[in-house]
C-alpha cells in the first residue's frame, strides 16, 4: 500500500510541475506488490492529463494532496540513489514492466525517494490545513473526480483502451491491438505514445505518400514501430527511393505491402538494390519492377536469396538468362522455401519429364503447391492425357495445369467431372522418390549436365562431334550385318550373362529378335542380301539388350563381391 501511495504521489506532483493543465488522478486501490510475479508484457499506465477531461478545483485539491504526501513522506522516506533515465526498469524480477518516464526522471526502487527532492517539492511553510479525514461539503464531494480504476500493471490493453485516446483512435483505424499486445514491449510503447504529437504526423506523412486509409490499419498492425521512427529518417528513405526513380505510386504500394520497409536505413536498402541488380544481371528498370512487385526483398535477409539463387543455378541447372526470366515473372522464387522449391522441381523435371525450356516458359509451376501438381498430373496420367510436349498433339499447357481452379481444370483439361477427380484423389498412394535426385552432387559441371541431359535420348553418342559420327556410320555400314537386316545386339556372342539378359527381355522384343535372326539365317543360306531400302540404318539401330545386359553384369559382380566375404 505504501508503495502505491508513494508512486501515486510522486507522479502527481511531478506532473503538476510539468503540466499545469488539469489534475492527474491516479488509482488508489490496487497494490502492485500483490500482482503475480510472472506478468509478461504487462504495462504500467502512464497517466496523461489528456485522459481526464474534468478538473473542478486544481489548487484546493493540490494543497490537500501535498500535505497528505508530506505526512507520508516524513514517515517513510528513505534515501535512495537515483538511477539512469533508462526507460525500462526491472522492478519485479522476471517481469516486463515499464515504469513511467517523467521529466524529473527518478526511479522508484523499494518505495523510496530522494529525500531532498521530496522536501523541495513541497512548501513546508504551508498552513497545515486540511487532512484526509476532514469533512467536506456536499458540493465539493460531487465535484471531486473519482477516476476509473486503471490497474497499474496489466497483461492486456483492454483495460486501458477506454481511457487512452491513442488506443481508441488506433482501434478506429483498424489496428489489431490483440495481436500487438502479444509482442513484448509493444503494448507499453503504444500506451506511451501521444496521439497528437507522435501518431498524427506519421499518419499524415503516410497519407501524403499515397498509402490508402484502409491500409493504414494493416501497416500499423504489422509494424507498430513506424510510429516511433523519426520523421526525418522516414522522409530521407522515401527521398532515396524516389531518387532511384521509383514512381510515387510504386513507393506507396511498396510501403503498404511491406510494412517494415521504411524502418530500414538507406544504406541497407541501397546495399540490397545493388545486390539484386548485380547478381541477377538485370537492367535498372527490370530490377525496379522486380522490387516493386515484391518489396519484401528489400526487407529480409540476403542469405536466403543467395541460397535460392545457388540452388537454381547449381542444382536445377538453369542458365543465367533463364534465371533472369524466371525472376522477372515470379520474383517469389527468390524468397521461396528451399525444400519445397526443390521438391516441386524434382517432381516436374524427373517424374513429369518436363525439360528446362518448358519450365522457363511457364515459371508459375515453381510457385504452385506440390500436392496440387502431383494430384493433377496423376489424374491426367490415369486418363492417358499427360502430354506436356508442345510439339505433339493433345498438348496440355502447364499454365492451365497449375492455375485453373479444380472445376475448370476437370472440365477443360481433363474432360472429366469434379466427382471423378475427387474419387481419384482417394486412390492415390505414395510415389517413389527419384533415386537420381538423391544422388546429386553439388559440383557445378556434373549436376548441370546430369540434369540437363536427363531427358536426352538414351542413344545419344558420348560426344557429338560431326567427324566422329560420320566415322561411326561408315564403320556400321562396313561391318555388314545391317545388310542382312540385323541389329547390333542381335550379333552379340551368347555367353551366360547374355543368356540371362535375353531371358529378361520383354516378349515383343524377343519375338522381333527371333524373327530377325531367322530372316538373316534364311538370307545367308540363299547367299543373298536385303535391298538397300530394307537394310537396318544406323539411326534405326536400337541397343535393346544393353540395359538388361548391364543389369545382369552388375548383379553378377555384386554376387561375386558378397561371396568373397
Amino acid at each position: 500500500m505504501a508503495l502505491t501511495c508513494i508512486q501515486h504521489c510522486q507522479r502527481c506532483t511531478s506532473l503538476l510541475r510539468s503540466r499545469s493543465v488539469g489534475i492527474t488522478t491516479l488509482q488508489y486501490s490496487t497494490d502492485a506488490q500483490h500482482w503475480p510475479a510472472a506478468l509478461w508484457n504487462s504495462f504500467i499506465v502512464p497517466v496523461l492529463p489528456s485522459l481526464l477531461q474534468r478538473s473542478p478545483n486544481p489548487s484546493q485539491t493540490r494543497q490537500r494532496w501535498n500535505l497528505g504526501v508530506r505526512s507520508y513522506c516524513e514517515s517513510h522516506a528513505k534515501v535512495q540513489p537515483s538511477q539512469t533515465k533508462h526507460r525500462n526498469t526491472d522492478e519485479l524480477p522476471g517481469t516486463d514492466m515499464v515504469s513511467y518516464q517523467n521529466p524529473v526522471s527518478h526511479q522508484l526502487i523499494d518505495g523510496g525517494m530522494l529525500l531532498k527532492e521530496w522536501q523541495t517539492a513541497f512548501d513546508l511553510d504551508d498552513a497545515p490545513g486540511h487532512s484526509a479525514l476532514e469533512e467536506i461539503s456536499h458540493e465539493e464531494a460531487v465535484r471531486m473526480d473519482i477516476p476509473a480504476a486503471l490497474p497499474p500493471v496489466s497483461i492486456s490493453l483492454k483495460d486501458y483502451v477506454n481511457e487512452s485516446e491513442t488506443l481508441g483512435k488506433l482501434v478506429q483505424l483498424g489496428v489489431q491491438l490483440w495481436k500487438l499486445e502479444q509482442r513484448p514491449n509493444v503494448g507499453s510503447m503504444l500506451l506511451r505514445l501521444d496521439f497528437q504529437t507522435d501518431v498524427t504526423p506519421r499518419l499524415v506523412f503516410l497519407k501524403q505518400l499515397g498509402v490508402e486509409d484502409s491500409r493504414l490499419g494493416y501497416l500499423i498492425s504489422h509494424n507498430p514501430f513506424i510510429l516511433t521512427e523519426s520523421l526525418e529518417n522516414l522522409q530521407a528513405r522515401v527521398a532515396y527511393l524516389r531518387s532511384k526513380k521509383f514512381s510515387a505510386e510504386s513507393v506507396a504500394s511498396m510501403v503498404s505491402r511491406a510494412p517494415y520497409l521504411l524502418n530500414f536505413s538507406v544504406k541497407r536498402m541501397d546495399n540490397r538494390l545493388g545486390f539484386y541488380q548485380q547478381q541477377l544481371g538485370l537492367s535498372a528498370q527490370k530490377t525496379r519492377d522486380v522490387v516493386a512487385r515484391l518489396p519484401r526483398l528489400l526487407c529480409g535477409s540476403l542469405e536466403t536469396v543467395k541460397e535460392n539463387l545457388k540452388i537454381c543455378k547449381l542444382e536445377m541447372g538453369f542458365r543465367e538468362n533463364e534465371l533472369q526470366h524466371i525472376v522477372t515473372v515470379i520474383p517469389k522464387v527468390l524468397t521461396a522455401n528451399k525444400r519445397k522449391l526443390t521438391q516441386i522441381f524434382d517432381y516436374i523435371h524427373n517424374t513429369m519429364n518436363i525439360p528446362h525450356d518448358l519450365i522457363v516458359k511457364f515459371p508459375q509451376v515453381l510457385n504452385a503447391k506440390y500436392l496440387r501438381i502431383k494430384e493433377r498430373h496423376l489424374f491426367l496420367q490415369y486418363l492417358d492425357k499427360a502430354q506436356y510436349d508442345p510439339a505433339k498433339p493433345n498438348y496440355i499447357c502447364l499454365d492451365k495445369l497449375v492455375s485453373l481452379p479444380d472445376e475448370a481444370f476437370c472440365t477443360e483439361v481433363a474432360s472429366a467431372t469434379l466427382k471423378d477427380f475427387e474419387l481419384f484423389q482417394k486412390t492415390i498412394v505414395a510415389q517413389p522418390r527419384m533415386t537420381s535426385f538423391s544422388e546429386r552432387h553439388f559440383t557445378h559441371n556434373s549436376t548441370q549436365t546430369f540434369f540437363r541431359q536427363n531427358n536426352m535420348a538414351s542413344r545419344a553418342p558420348a560426344t557429338t562431334g560431326r567427324l566422329l559420327v560420320s566415322f561411326r556410320k561408315w564403320y556400321y555400314n562396313a561391318a555388314g550385318f545391317n545388310k542382312i537386316g540385323l541389329m547390333r545386339d542381335d550379333t552379340i556372342h551368347e555367353d551366360s550373362d547374355v543368356k540371362e539378359a535375353l531371358r529378361r527381355l520383354p516378349e515383343k522384343v524377343y519375338n522381333d529378335r527371333m524373327f530377325r535372326l531367322k530372316r538373316a539365317l534364311d538370307l545367308s543360306m540363299k547367299q543373298a542380301v536385303l535391298p538397300k531400302e530394307q537394310r537396318t540404318q544406323y539411326e534405326e539401330d536400337v541397343h535393346y539388350l544393353e540395359p538388361y545386359l548391364k543389369e545382369v553384369i552388375r548383379e553378377r559382380k555384386e554376387v561375386e563381391e558378397w561371396s568373397k566375404k
Binding site: 477531461q53 474534468r54 473542478p56 458540493e139 460531487v142 465535484r143 490493453l157 483492454k158 483495460d159 483502451v161 477506454n162 488506443l167 481508441g168 482501434v171 483498424g174 489496428v175 489489431q176 491491438l177 490483440w178 495481436k179 500436392l371 494430384e375 479444380d406 475427387e422 484423389q425 482417394k426 486412390t427 492415390i428 498412394v429 505414395a430 510415389q431 517413389p432 522418390r433 548383379e555
Partner: protein, 316 residues
C-alpha cells in the same frame, strides 16, 4: 443468447473422417483442419458494439458563476474493451483430436473429432474397431524399411510365382491369424457362450493383443505388382509393410510395399471421407450430420428384435 461463433462451434462438435494424402505428417493435417475450422467459426459477424455512459462535467464557466449545482451531461460512447480488434477473435484455439494415426508414407481415412466429441473418439478406439487397408506390393525387391522408398537390399526373381501360390500363402497366413484371434479373445472354446459369440462373429480380443488380421484377400495380381486387401485389429502401418515382406519370403522371393491405403476405419468409410478441398467448416458440419444420421439409421436397424450383428459400432 449464445454468440453466433459459439453456435457454429457447437455444430462442429462431432466426429468426421478425412482422406489424408500420402507424404504428409498427420499433425500437419490436424493443424490445417484446426486453422480452417477456426476461420469458419470466427467468420460469424461480431455482435453489436457495446455502449457505455460517460458523464462529462459542464465547462468551467458554470463553476465560476458560483452556482452550487453541478450539471453533468451524459454521453454514450462505445466501449472499446470488447471490440473484436482489442479482445481478439472469439476462438483462438479449438481441440481437434485424431483417432488412429497414419504415418507419413500411408494415405487414407483419418478420423478427427472436435471439442466434446474427443471423448467419443477415445471410446471408439478403446472398443477395438477393425480397419480395412489396401496394400500395393511389388515382387522382386527387398528394402530396409519394407517400402519402396527405403534403401535396396536385395533383388530376386519372381517368375515362379503364380496366382495360385500367392493365394495359398495368403490362406496360410489368414489361418494363423484366425488362431491368434481365438487365443487372444480369452474365451474358453468348449463353452456354449463361445459358440454363440462365434456364430455372431463377435469373437475377438477385448484387451491388449498384438496386431491380428481378421481378413486377407488378393485383389489384383500382375507380376511384379499385386494388391491385397486386409482387415485388421491393433495394427500399425509398418506392421502391414512387414506382412508384405513376409509374403514375399514365403514365396521364396521378396516383396516391398508400394502403398498403404486405409479404406475403412471402424464405421468411417472412404466414401464419405473429405478430400483436402473440402476441409472447411460447412463441409465438416455436413459430414458430421451425415455420420450422425447414418448412425441413427444403423442403430434403428440393430435394435430390431432378435438380430444384433454388433460388428464394429460401439459408439453412441
Amino acid at each position: 443468447m449464445a454468440r453466433p461463433s459459439v453456435r457454429v462451434f457447437h455444430k462442429l462438435e462431432g466426429l468426421f473422417s478425412i482422406y489424408k494424402p500420402p507424404g504428409v505428417h498427420w499433425k500437419l493435417v490436424r493443424d490445417t483442419i484446426e486453422t480452417n475450422l477456426l476461420k469458419g467459426i470466427n467468420a460469424a459477424p461480431p455482435p453489436a458494439p457495446r455502449q457505455r455512459v460517460q458523464f462529462l462535467a459542464e465547462s468551467t464557466s458554470v463553476v465560476a458563476e458560483g452556482s452550487n449545482e453541478l450539471t453533468l451531461s451524459a454521453a454514450s460512447v462505445p466501449a472499446l474493451a470488447h471490440h473484436p480488434l482489442v479482445s481478439g477473435p472469439d476462438f483462438q484455439h479449438i481441440g481437434v483430436g485424431v483417432g488412429h494415426r497414419l504415418d507419413v508414407f500411408s494415405s487414407g481415412v483419418l478420423v478427427l473429432g472436435v471439442g466434446q466429441s474427443n471423448k467419443a473418439l477415445t471410446d471408439l478406439y478403446r472398443s477395438h474397431v477393425t480397419r480395412d487397408y489396401t496394400l500395393e506390393g511389388e515382387l522382386g525387391m527387398a528394402t530396409d524399411n519394407f517400402s519402396h522408398t527405403g534403401r535396396l537390399i536385395e533383388r530376386t526373381t519372381y517368375d515362379h510365382i503364380t496366382r495360385d501360390k500367392l493365394e495359398r500363402v495368403l490362406a496360410m497366413m489368414q489361418g494363423s491369424n484366425q488362431k491368434a484371434l481365438l487365443t487372444y479373445s480369452k474365451v474358453d472354446m468348449s463353452t456354449q457362450g463361445a459358440y454363440e459369440l462365434a456364430v455372431k462373429g463377435e469373437l475377438r480380443p477385448d484387451g491388449k493383443s498384438p496386431p491380428i488380421m481378421t481378413g486377407l484377400r488378393l485383389l489384383h495380381f500382375q507380376p511384379p505388382h499385386f494388391t491385397l486387401e486386409v482387415q485388421c485389429l491393433n495394427e500399425t502401418q509398418r506392421y502391414l509393410c512387414r506382412i508384405l515382406h513376409e509374403v514375399g519370403l514365403e514365396l521364396r522371393s521378396t516383396a516391398v510395399c508400394k502403398g498403404v491405403r486405409r479404406t475403412r476405419d471402424g464405421p468411417f468409410t472412404i466414401q464419405h471421407a473429405l478430400t483436402h478441398q473440402h476441409w472447411t467448416s460447412p463441409d465438416v458440419i455436413q459430414a458430421i450430420r451425415q455420420y450422425r444420421s447414418s448412425r441413427k439409421a444403423s442403430k434403428a436397424k440393430h435394435t430390431q428384435p432378435g438380430k444384433d450383428t454388433g460388428t464394429t459400432d460401439h459408439l453412441c
